[in-house]
Amino acid sequence: MSVFLARRFLSFLITVSGASVIIFLLLEVLPGDPALTMLGVDAPDSAIEAIRLELGLDRPAFIRYVDWIAGLFRGEMGLSYVYKVPVTELIGQRLHVTLPLAIGAMVLATLVSLSLGIFAATNHNRIGDYGVMGFSQLGLAIPDFWFGILLIILFAVVLHWLPSGGFPGWDEGIWRGVRSLMLPVFTQALGLTAIMTRVTRSSVLEVAREDFVRTARAKGLSRRAALWRHVLRNALVPVLTIGGLLVATVVTGTLIIENVFALPGLGKLIFDAISNRDLMVVKNVVLLFAAIVVVVNFVVDILYALVDPRIRIQS
């Protein structure tokens, strides 16, 4: 187990460092002079010179990269050029919106898709199965931003039940915050649910055909008992895999959904930072996103080992 963990951790470190190099190259080296990138080619020379000095952009790229990473280890991400506050502080504020949104969507999608997937598998080739598969086929094809717009039209414009966007902040009361996040969470959950439902269904169907399920039935377990005690845990491995991969989708999704619903989260932050050419914010938030994706997949690997003893214990 410890060898397994060490190996996974090493590959995690490699991936995150690789990601930081790519981000740095794409933002500060390949496009040319970062000062020009930030201010545009029409900016007066004096302004460009000023920003160079202010942000230390006159130093060689390699030094700036090392400086950035060293700062990260001290927990510093530099100042936002536009907001003039530490990037860490900005990220902290925005997480109040993005985290509940992402986690809420993931939890909702997991609950719904596990139930739907198991339901479809146990009703294989019957009407319920076809219904669930039709729903998930549609869920895969609907772009999340359009689904969000449709939800706004229905629940905000027509029914007036929920706000069409914006976020009042948690200080205005938990309920108001939850209300503003409801449509975004549904929107985000749709695509995730569609994919995870399909995977759950086919995984349950596949495991149900295994010899050991027949053994369980030969012992006298009912269909239902065999499903709960023998099929589900084995069927969970592919669902976990997809769940891990979908974290990338969630990260991307927050970017889009926070724009649809005008939510002040990380996705909106990064997006505004691009419009404002706020490189400090862009590079750190993108790295944070990449790191989240990698960390979650690291956690998923550990979960595998918990679910499947064949990974945990080498014979």
Partner: protein
């Protein structure tokens, strides 16, 4: 059974091709997919020579008209004909999808085949690169590119291409490794054929179905991603018509003209649905064993 596995299935298949067409014609969801995708391609091609109205001309007098005989889907906030914009928008989706998938497929398939044939460190490098790619979802790459170079459709194409490289490399590697373990390849090896000639003669032809299925699904993903990027304003730029941007523009009017947000969304859903149905159908048709569990 051993006798069966030492025959290259690709070369044993020839006679079954007619059966494939017959089965395809009876596969309902596959045919629905074909019709949907066919319609999209037809509309895109038609828009090259003819659209009901100009897709870009601004006619303020005609703005936000409801559907009528002359404007089937109505007009938008600038008086442009929505149907014409959707037809022209299909071009953008198809062009972005085609370039991104071809780019990804060309590089990804080569890398995947290489990794499957050579294993060892080449495989490690390729898999680590594709891990790295996983940390950067398409939209994130596109945004990084936009931050560095400014907005444009090229960013979307490059981002999708990079993403597809890793998808194809992974898929082809997996399927390729499975092929390399089959007995007919061992036989070819025993006969003294080299890695390259075995790859070209036996591995590639036998994983074509995997590649075609992945290509349709990647195409669908590309359409969704292009729409998302254009919606965010970092994809295709005005006046070039695009479904995603039509949606982002319509959002300002949903309080008094919600219906204009419906058409471009439907166009995306039907195109993506069509491609996904084709992909799923193909998977059923080439591998009936898998079909049962899906």
């Amino acid at each position: 059974m051993a006798r069966m596995t030492s025959i290259d299935p690709e070369h044993a298949q020839g006679a079954a091709d007619l059966g494939f067409v017959h089965r395809a014609l009876r596969h309902r969801s596959f045919m629905i997919g074909l019709v949907l995708t066919g319609t999209m391609i037809f509309l895109a091609l038609l828009s090259l020579i003819w659209t009901p109205h100009s897709a870009t001309e601004i006619v303020i007098a005609q703005r936000l008209k409801p559907p009528s005989l002359s404007h089937w889907f109505g007009t938008d906030q600038f008086g442009r004909d929505i149907l014409s914009m959707i037809m022209a928008g299909a071009q953008t989706s198809i062009v972005v999808g085609l370039i991104a998938v071809s780019l990804g497929a060309a590089v990804g398939i080569s890398l995947g085949l290489w990794a499957a044939a050579r294993r060892g460190w080449t495989e490690d490098v390729i898999m680590r690169l594709s891990d790295l790619n996983m940390a950067f979802p398409v939209i994130l790459i596109a945004i990084l590119l936009t931050a560095g170079w400014g907005p444009g459709i090229t960013n979307a194409i490059i981002a999708l291409g990079i993403y597809n490289i890793s998808v194809f490399a992974r898929q082809v590697r997996g399927a390729g490794i499975a092929m390399w373990e089959r007995e007919f390849i061992l036989a070819a090896r025993a006969a003294g054929k080299g890695d390259l000639s075995i790859t070209v003669a036996h591995v590639l032809p036998n994983i074509v179905s995997v590649i075609v299925v992945q290509a349709t699904i990647s195409f669908a993903i590309a359409i969704l991603a292009e729409a998302a990027l254009s919606y965010l304003g970092v994809g295709s730029q005005p006046p070039n018509p695009s479904w995603g941007r039509m949606l982002s523009e319509s959002q300002s009017y949903i309080f008094f003209k919600p219906v204009i947000a419906v058409w471009p969304g439907l166009a995306i859903v039907l195109s993506v649905l069509g491609l996904n149905l084709i992909g799923d159908g193909l998977r059923d048709l080439v591998d009936p064993r898998l079909a049962r569990q899906r």
